[in-house]
Symmetry: C2
Subunit: 202 residues, 2 copies
Amino acid sequence: MAMPRRMLRTPSQRIEPAVLGAVVYILNEDGPDGLTVRAIAKRAKVAPMTIYNHFNGKNGLLEIVWTDGFSTLQQALGIETGDPAHDLIASALAYRNFALEHRAHYTVMFIHHFDGFVPSIPATQLAAQTFQVLVNHIQRCQAVGLFEGYSATNAAQMMWSACHGYVSIELTSVNFSSDHEGTFRSLITGLLRGLGPSLSTP
Amino acid sequence: MAMPRRMLRTPSQRIEPAVLGAVVYILNEDGPDGLTVRAIAKRAKVAPMTIYNHFNGKNGLLEIVWTDGFSTLQQALGIETGDPAHDLIASALAYRNFALEHRAHYTVMFIHHFDGFVPSIPATQLAAQTFQVLVNHIQRCQAVGLFEGYSATNAAQMMWSACHGYVSIELTSVNFSSDHEGTFRSLITGLLRGLGPSLSTP
DNA sequence: ACACTAATGGAACACTGTTCTATAGAGGGC
DNA sequence: GCCCTCTATAGAACAGTGTTCCATTAGTGT
């Protein structure tokens, strides 16, 4: 009963999910520092070279995580009932939920800068499209009198700043607030009210 | 006229400013990726070993940048005239100005995670103190009826989230807004209004 | 069953932070 | 001015990183 002279080959179809699963697992468990090519290969039970044959090295993997993340986020933000203000708030809550439930993706998309990783032009466009979903929400709100006097882009930038700021602070665990969800809700509804219709007496 | 067998020694008093200056320069010019011990030493015209003798390696340098940054920021936020709401807005603007004028420091403090860098306990306490300055602003505001129904900590968390979110997006140059300062001002004043006194008709 | 594809292990490269070494220049006491 | 101590220096060395190249050989399609 001799040891095989080398590890058995991983069937081709299982390589991609195994590697991507390893990336997400390591990011969630050990953080960005632990995400090395050799560690990914080891966890995926795959040779390091496979990461260069199947993907485009470490940056290729990050690009997939980035793209998958923005696709998921874009869908999560596309809430459309009859009430634009409600939709905007729901989208903000969905944004936070996405970050909490897909820490690994959110880290790659927004938090951690990986040495030498620059998303491709299509990947960047996908991110811009995702932002556009937010702009569309604002425009629907403007149709019913909210965000008067602001450009939709600027208003969207403000909403996104608030969401991203709160969430990124929450994820890096320097949130001094009690009741993380409640405070986030207050932030969003407060901002919506403050940027809402003029407060002059009717 | 022979070349000296080795570089002349850098006088002790000039080492610290030269090295710290090099760190800030490289962070501003090449970003976090370019900040290597050898690059710092080269730019400071100093031997790499000096960084380990004088400071505590790369992490020691980062800790100094962190500490200096929070000291400066804490002072910049300590605005106190008679008008609490005005002071809060002025502090928010000062926060953004600090980030723009001290990109390198802001990067180390809030944006980039450096492999293996964990600020010491005193350094972390200094950061918490800085946050407390914001809480104090909120409390003064509450004394004149603003932020009713919110805990000061939670309200401060919301304000900081908005500031940090906007600024970090601006620094990583994915700001879609026109008029960066104006939009930031709108964000802050809008949030202040939205979290302000109840909007029920008088 | 056979041929082709591609996953494997291992060596190698340039880079990183870090430690250790012997050397010799700077600074202070006389 | 002289000498002695302190320490900044250059350089090698270590483990780790992303990445490339290699011969070997196990899967896979026909």
